[in-house]
Structures are given as structure tokens and as C-alpha cells.
């Protein structure tokens, strides 16, 4: 049984310019111990869909219009704010993109990590302090005892993200939500953090939702991938299946847009022409149709996800893998 089951989630933002259709009826699940990557470009709804699940959407202007999120037999959308607060940071923890803005600059690292421990685990200050040292050691911060009372500005970017991860892990969460956690970091530091998360995942056995735009990171960390475009899921599959046999023209376009470090000889990139649609004024049919090379008449109707192989779903009227073989 799935650990987390999202059904028909729809989130909109009511702005002065119009209604932004950020997430449009997405359904996916997360199995126990699994790493699920949600991939897409800016504005595709990957962050908003996960923030909606954690009920962190500012309301107004945002509004979760519909959807069910089942976790441990309960629908998170129906919980009271207090009940939700006991899950957030406890059973589901989050690591954000920018470690500088997500840490409080006027509190020490110890104060920030201890807060979750005293709040959710009922520890006293001394116990929380000891546990904080353990956690900082777990995320490999050197001289953890001495760095405990430092303020965030005394940490480097990589160390701040480690502290964020320590905070997220403090209550032994079942699900870690990581929203572009390495985008603000340098490659060598990114490699450190990814290695750390993989190691912790194998030790602790938590499930991870990893949101990113970087197809390289996905290839290294995910078990299963969900590709989003304009607030819709357009394809989902196990990671190897997706890279070996992408079935949606957008997924193919994304893969063709990134140069590979290990390329044998130089090939021209094959970008996707045009721009993503305006979420206030979405086309009625397939949202990708205006940019698609494989467009047919039927694309003016909205395609639903259909299963094309075991655990592989795609929302496209055209069978591009057949075209590829011809």
C-alpha cells in the first residue's frame, strides 16, 4: 500500500490578473522507502503541488480547490490546523531551496533544531541539545559541539543546507520533501549533499519526494519520476524506463535540451521551441500542443494519462515510440 496517495489535487491562485491554474488535478503516490522525483521547469506546478499537500499554500490568494491526500489512513486536506501541525516537521519534513532564507538569522543553529525536538518529541532543553549534536554529526558537520551555538551566517552554504537536513531529520520523518535542495549550491557541494541524502535514506529508510529541474540529479537519485508541465502530470515511470523510452514529446524535448558531460562527439542540442503557456489562460486541449512537433488534430482534446507499459503512464494522443522505431 502506498505511504502517501494524492488524488485529483487542484490548486489555484486568485490574483488581480486572473485565476492562475497552478495545479490541475494531479494524482500520484509515494511508496514506503521510495525516492520519487517530481521534474519540470519553473511554473509547472511541482513546488505548489507539494506545498499544497503540506498545506503550506498562503490562503488567500491560493486555494486548494479539490483533492484528497491520504497519509496513514487520514485525508490531510480534512485535518484541523493543529492536527496538520503535528504531522508537518514531524512525520513529513521539508528541506527548501535556499538555506539562507529558510533559516532564522537571529536564532542559533541549536535553538532552531531544538525547537522541533521540544515541540514534537517532548524533550527538555538539555536532551534536545544532545540530540542536536548527534544530528549535526549525522549530517557530517565538523566540530559539531563547537558549531552548535553559531548563527546561520557563520555557516557556509553547504553547511547551512546540512543544518536544514539535520532539522528535517530531527523527528525521524517517514517522508522527506526536498524542494530543489541543491540548486543554490556549487557542484562539488551539491555532490556532497546528494551523497549524504542517499546515505541517510539507506540508513533511516525514509521515503523522499525530490523536486528538481535537473535531469542529471534525477538520474542519480530517483526510483520513480513524475514529469509535470503547466500544472499537469504528463508522464510518470520508473527512472530507467523513463530515460530509455520517454513517451511524451515534452520529456523527449527536455532530455534533448541538456548537453551531456560524457558525450562522445558533439551533437547539436534539440531544444523545444516556443514558451510554456500562460497559466491564467491555459489552452483547452493538450497544454503542450502549441510547442509540439508531433501535434495531430486530436490534440485539441485534453489527453488523460494512459498506461503504456508496466508502471509507465503518459498523457499524449500520439505514440511517439512507434514513430521513433519507423
Amino acid at each position: 500500500m502506498a505511504l502517501l496517495e494524492v488524488t485529483d489535487l487542484t490548486t489555484r491562485f486568485y490574483t488581480d490578473d486572473g485565476i492562475v491554474q497552478a495545479v490541475n488535478g494531479v494524482s500520484w503516490h509515494l511508496d514506503e522507502g521510495e525516492t520519487l522525483a517530481i521534474v519540470g521547469e519553473s511554473g509547472c506546478g511541482k513546488s505548489v503541488s507539494v506545498l499544497s499537500i503540506l498545506r503550506l499554500i498562503p490562503q488567500p490568494p491560493g486555494k486548494i480547490e479539490a483533492g484528497q491526500v491520504m497519509f496513514e489512513g487520514r485525508d490531510l486536506m480534512k485535518l484541523s490546523d493543529d492536527e496538520m501541525r503535528s504531522i508537518r516537521g514531524n512525520k513529513m519534513a521539508m528541506v527548501f531551496q535556499d538555506p539562507m532564507t529558510s533559516l532564522n538569522p537571529v536564532l542559533t543553529i541549536n535553538q532552531q533544531i531544538s525547537e522541533a525536538l521540544t515541540l514534537h518529541m517532548g524533550m527538555n532543553k538539555k536532551e534536545a541539545r544532545e540530540r542536536t549534536v548527534e544530528l549535526l554529526k549525522l549530517v557530517q558537520i565538523p566540530q559539531a559541539e563547537d558549531r552548535l551555538d553559531d548563527y546561520p551566517h557563520q555557516f557556509s552554504g553547504g553547511m547551512r543546507q546540512r543544518a536544514m537536513i539535520a532539522m528535517a531529520l530531527s523527528c525521524n520523518p517517514q517522508i522527506l520533501v526536498a524542494d530543489e535542495p541543491t540548486t543554490a549550491l556549487d557542484v562539488t557541494i551539491q555532490a556532497q549533499i546528494i551523497e549524504l541524502v542517499k546515505q541517510l535514506r539507506d540508513e533511516i529508510g525514509m521515503a523522499i519526494i525530490w523536486i528538481t529541474h535537473d535531469l542529471g540529479i534525477v538520474a542519480g537519485i530517483a526510483d520513480r519520476v513524475v514529469v509535470m508541465y503547466a500544472g499537469f502530470i504528463i508522464e510518470s515511470a520508473d527512472v530507467k524506463e523513463l530515460y530509455a523510452d520517454p513517451r511524451h514529446p515534452y520529456t523527449v524535448g527536455l532530455l534533448g535540451s541538456v548537453p551531456r558531460l560524457d558525450m562522445k562527439k558533439k551533437e547539436k542540442l534539440t531544444p523545444i521551441f516556443g514558451l510554456p503557456p500562460d497559466l491564467i489562460d491555459l489552452p483547452t486541449g493538450c497544454p503542450f500542443a502549441p510547442r509540439c512537433d508531433h501535434r495531430v488534430e486530436r490534440c485539441s482534446e485534453h489527453p488523460e494519462l494512459r498506461t503504456v507499459a508496466p508502471r509507465h503512464e503518459v498523457a499524449c494522443w500520439v505514440d511517439i515510440s512507434k514513430e521513433r522505431k519507423q
Binding site: 562539488t188 530509455a244 535540451s257
Partner: protein, 327 residues
């Protein structure tokens, strides 16, 4: 470094120190050595990639070349003339030949100017075209970068990130420069738009015979677009080589770890890849280590690395390295 006659730009022993001032009298108490004694050259018509992590000094190098910063020491020889010795109108005339594309297409275009006046401004400043002639040239430039020429009267906020970057490229091309310094031109853009801009830069290069200094942190992109690549770390160049040579035969331990840290979009390859994970962070350029700048994080350091700086040497044709393990 080289006496070849197809060299467009030669940088020799370039240094850029920013003073650290303290106290009431703003006494100089030290220097941030953003760029410390580096030399390289760029051949006519090639793309020279400069990679490094944040704080490595790669942007400072670009700015020193264009004399947007006046270097503390060393020379920047462009078309046989040393730019560091030039001033005023002489320098302004040289700037026609070299233009810059910036990282952030939102910050690098004046929001109160129309596209026409942004792209046309260099033409006016350098007294090349006015009025109707200017307007025609601007429209032609917009066409070259794949924008609709009727956009001249629009403002930057009406455009997407990728389109704005195209406007920035049109402005850089306005004066027919021979060298373009592109400082992280695609890192603020989405993946599918990045590929559009990379392809456009490549097409423009072959049409107009441009020379690029391409500054970026993403090694996959740099390998894709460049002919030769220089790897920077803490104000120094550690290695310069042809892009394929650098990928197949990296000699400096930092280059090796950088290559191993770049994710490859292929789960089958990633499964079996071995990574060299560096410990720690980049040291402060105000207080660099003694000896080799990489000594604090190097996985294979020796005693000599902590005492003396390795010399930057050519170990095989066109392959330059600074490392005691190699020398």
C-alpha cells in the same frame, strides 16, 4: 605564453586585488585576491570556456578583460594592444570590439527603456548610426537573434527570460564586436530555453566569426560549447586543455573531482559512477592557503603542496596544469 599570430586576446599575469579596509581611517588591512596571477590566451574564432565555482574569480576575469575593473597587475593584450595602458577615448574605441552578455536578463536591461533604445544605445554612443538608419539596424539585429522586428517599441517586462537574453545578445552584437564575453548567459533560464540560447550563440558564431569567452559553472554546458576550457579555483587557473582532452585526461585533482561531481542525465551511467567527494568548502580568497590553493581540500596532497605553489606548465601540446603531482 604563445607567439601564434591567430591569438586575439592574451592575458598575462593578471591580478585583481580588492582592498579590505578597516577602522576610522579606512586603513588597508589586507586584500581579497579575486584573481591572482593568471595567464591564458584566446584564439580568433574559438570559444574559450572558463569554469569554476562561485567565488573562484571567473566573473572578475571577464570584467578585467573588458577593463570594467582596472587590474591590479598584469596585462590584457587585445589585437596586439595592451588595454591596461589605455584610457578615455582610446579605451572606448577598443570597447567596440568587445562586448558582454550578462547572467541575469532581468537586471541587465533598463526597465524604462524600450527594446529599440536598449539595442540602439551602443550605436548612438559610438556615433555609428542615428534616426532611421539606427532603427533599421536595430530591426535587423532583432531578426538576427530570432525576435520579431516589430518589438522595437516594447519594454523589457513584456518579454520572457529567454527573449530578454536574446535582447541582451542583440545589444552585444550591435557594434559588430570580435570578442564577446558571456558571463553565465544561460544559468538564469529554464532547461528548454537554455538549449535555444546555446544553439543561437553557436549559429551566430559560425555566421559572424565571433570569438567567445564563455564563463559558466556548468561543466556539461561548457564542454558542449567550448573549444578549450580553463578550470579556475580561488583566483587561479589550475588547468587549461582542449575540451575532449580535459574530459578524457584531467590531470589536476580539482578538475578530476569537478568532472566526477557533475550529474549525467542517464540512470544507467549514474548507477556505476564513482564520485570523488571533496571535503569542506572553498577557502576565503582574503586568506588563501599557503602553497597550492587547493591544498585544504585535495584528496591526494603531498608535503610539498603545503609549502610551495606549483608552477603552471604546459605538459603536452595545449594542455597546461598547475599541480605538484604532474610537474
Amino acid at each position: 605564453m604563445s607567439a601564434e599570430n591567430n591569438v586575439l586576446l592574451e592575458v598575462k599575469n593578471l591580478k585583481m586585488y580588492f582592498p579590505i579596509k578597516r577602522g576610522v581611517f579606512q586603513r588597508r588591512v589586507g586584500d581579497v585576491k579575486a584573481v591572482d596571477d593568471l595567464s591564458f590566451f584566446i584564439r580568433r574564432g574559438e570559444t574559450f570556456g572558463l569554469v569554476g565555482e562561485s567565488g573562484s574569480g571567473k566573473t572578475t576575469v571577464g570584467r578585467c578583460i573588458l577593463q570594467l575593473y582596472r587590474p591590479t597587475g598584469g596585462s590584457v593584450v587585445f589585437e596586439g594592444k595592451d588595454l591596461t595602458q589605455m584610457k578615455g577615448s582610446q579605451l572606448r574605441a577598443m570597447r567596440r570590439e568587445m562586448q558582454m552578455i550578462f547572467q541575469d536578463p532581468y537586471a541587465s536591461l533598463n526597465p524604462r527603456m524600450t527594446v529599440g533604445s536598449i539595442v540602439g544605445e551602443p550605436l548612438e554612443v559610438h556615433g555609428i548610426a542615428r534616426g532611421k538608419q539606427k532603427r533599421e539596424r536595430v530591426q535587423e539585429l532583432l531578426k538576427v537573434v530570432g525576435l520579431n522586428p516589430y518589438f522595437v517599441n516594447r519594454y523589457p517586462h513584456e518579454f520572457s527570460g529567454g527573449q530578454r537574453q536574446r535582447i541582451g545578445v542583440a545589444r552585444a552584437l550591435a557594434l559588430n564586436p570580435s570578442l564577446i564575453v558571456a558571463d553565465e548567459p544561460i544559468s538564469a533560464l529554464d532547461v528548454s530555453i537554455q538549449a535555444q540560447i546555446i544553439n543561437m550563440l553557436e549559429d551566430l558564431q559560425s555566421e559572424l566569426g565571433l570569438t567567445y569567452l564563455f564563463i559558466a559553472h556548468d561543466l556539461s554546458v561548457v564542454r558542449h560549447i567550448s573549444d578549450r576550457i580553463a578550470v579556475m579555483y580561488l583566483g587561479k587557473i589550475f588547468e587549461i586543455a582542449d575540451k575532449d582532452e580535459l574530459y578524457r585526461n584531467p590531470l589536476q585533482p580539482y578538475t578530476q573531482s569537478l568532472l566526477s561531481a557533475v550529474p549525467i542525465p542517464d540512470p544507467v551511467v549514474e548507477e556505476t559512477r564513482k564520485r570523488i567527494i571533496l571535503v569542506g568548502d572553498l577557502p576565503s580568497p582574503a586568506n588563501p592557503p599557503i602553497g597550492c590553493n587547493f591544498v585544504t581540500r585535495c584528496p591526494v596532497k603531498m608535503d610539498v603542496c603545503e609549502g610551495q605553489e606549483p608552477e603552471f606548465k604546459e605538459v603536452s601540446t595545449d594542455h597546461w596544469v598547475a599541480c605538484w603531482r604532474v610537474n
